[in-house]
Amino acid sequence: MNKQNMFVQMVEEHKQDYYRLAYSYVRNQADALDIVSESIKKGLLSINKLENVDALRSWFYKIIVRTSLDFLKKHKRMTVSDHDTITYLQRGEQDVYMHFDLHDALAQLPLQYKTVILLRYFEDLKIQEIATVIDENVNTVKTRLYRGLKLLKLELTEGDEMDE
């Protein structure tokens, strides 16, 4: 099967995942649909440049993530991700259960943590794949996951590991 067909097949199988991921960034149905559509078009245009087909999955996640982030930038809906926000999130235990809802919690999370958390715990990507998506090394991914989990007040229970 050639690369293009593999790509088409993958998109057909996982379209709902891609939509949910895009939606988690923009929280708007129409925008999420636009992002998915644009990502597929970008993918088709550059699929021939993909050298290693084993990386197809992370390669396309990268396109989705970048398209989503570009969208947020363009529409200036970028979540504030400065020190203050982080301090705010780390404050007082009483806030914990107020952010029980996934989308509210994610909305508070700075983008660099949001991306790794979404990919690892909701899209089930491996640490190595996430490293490819965000162009960082494995250790950076682990650090961000760890901090992201802390910000979300999510403690992993014993036996759970960040990596698999």
């Binding site: 099967m1 293009q4 379209k15 939509y19 949910r20 998915v36 597929i40 078009k41 245009l45």
Partner: protein, 280 residues
């Protein structure tokens, strides 16, 4: 995994999927047209290589049936084209790289078998040419979907042979997915008048193109100039539902022009069409 994470994963998976997603995915996936090859142009100095062997699939097709069926909604078939086989060899002075497609999902098994055999034959024939050659030959052949919608599926077979000179060829196959038939150019029209109408339109566009760009040359005012299309001229229907007429390399223009194609404005031919099912 903590209970909260489990709860969040559940919420994540509960993100409602809008009904439009399928359509949007479908149209994005078919947005990719012939960009793959359209920019390629080869400049080869010497003689013309072997004559074209046009891939043809002759299948019965009734325009009346098409018209009658066009009002009847039919469940969409899952018709797929995959690569069934790849031939790849690389020697010191020659190489071959061929992808052989296979269609699956047609209810008309006879047609499916016929087409797949034709694809396979084409691959075998290229491989035979390759093994027979003493060297200095490169053969490349692959395929792509140039258009797919609820009704039709157009496949392009692209073959390129480089010997002392190069030869590029694009064959098209358009299938009506609902009627399970292959479209031929004559089957689209009510009479033979289309040959002349399209030929005149092609000549007009050739003149316009040459006037606009001095680098373009078609054989028009020459001894061997283009006079008329074949009644079975290679064609496909693009995403805008327009008819595209395709000529092989050397067919109507010097080799450096490669495969040349002309979009026929629908208003030129709509009175001649059997129906607006495919072209509009």
């Amino acid at each position: 995994m903590s209970n909260r994470l489990k709860e969040w994963r559940r919420q994540y998976n509960d993100i409602p999927i809008p009904a439009e997603l399928d359509d949007i995915i479908e149209s994005a996936l078919t947005s990719h047209t012939q960009q793959k090859h359209s920019k390629k142009r080869w400049l080869w100095p010497t003689s013309i290589v072997a004559a074209a062997s046009i891939f043809t699939a002759t299948v019965n097709f009734s325009p009346q049936a098409a018209k009658a069926m066009s009002e009847v909604p039919i469940l969409k078939q899952i018709i797929e084209v995959i690569t069934i086989d790849q031939i790849h060899e690389d020697e010191e002075s020659k190489s071959i790289d061929v992808e052989i497609p296979e269609i699956s999902g047609l209810e008309n098994h006879q047609l499916e078998t016929h087409l797949n055999q034709a694809f396979l034959e084409k691959g075998k024939q290229l491989y035979q040419e390759y093994t027979d050659s003493s060297g200095h030959l490169a053969i490349q052949s692959d395929y792509s979907i140039v258009n797919e919608n609820n009704q039709i599926l157009s496949i392009e077979l692209h073959t390129f042979k480089a010997e002392a000179s190069g030869y590029e060829q694009k064959d098209y196959l358009t299938i009506d997915k609902e009627l399970q038939t292959v479209l031929t150019l004559p089957s689209l029209f009510t009479s033979e008048a289309y040959v002349e109408v399209i030929s005149e339109e092609v000549k007009k566009q050739m003149k316009q193109n040459m006037a606009n760009d001095e680098n373009l040359i078609y054989w028009l005012d020459d001894v061997e100039s283009f006079t008329t299309i074949n009644r079975e001229q290679s064609f496909f229907i693009n995403e805008e539902n327009h008819l595209i007429i395709s000529f092989d390399e050397y067919e109507v223009a010097p080799g450096y022009m490669g495969v040349v194609q002309f979009e026929i404005p629908t208003e030129m031919i709509d009175e001649l069409l059997v129906s607006d099912r495919y072209i509009h």
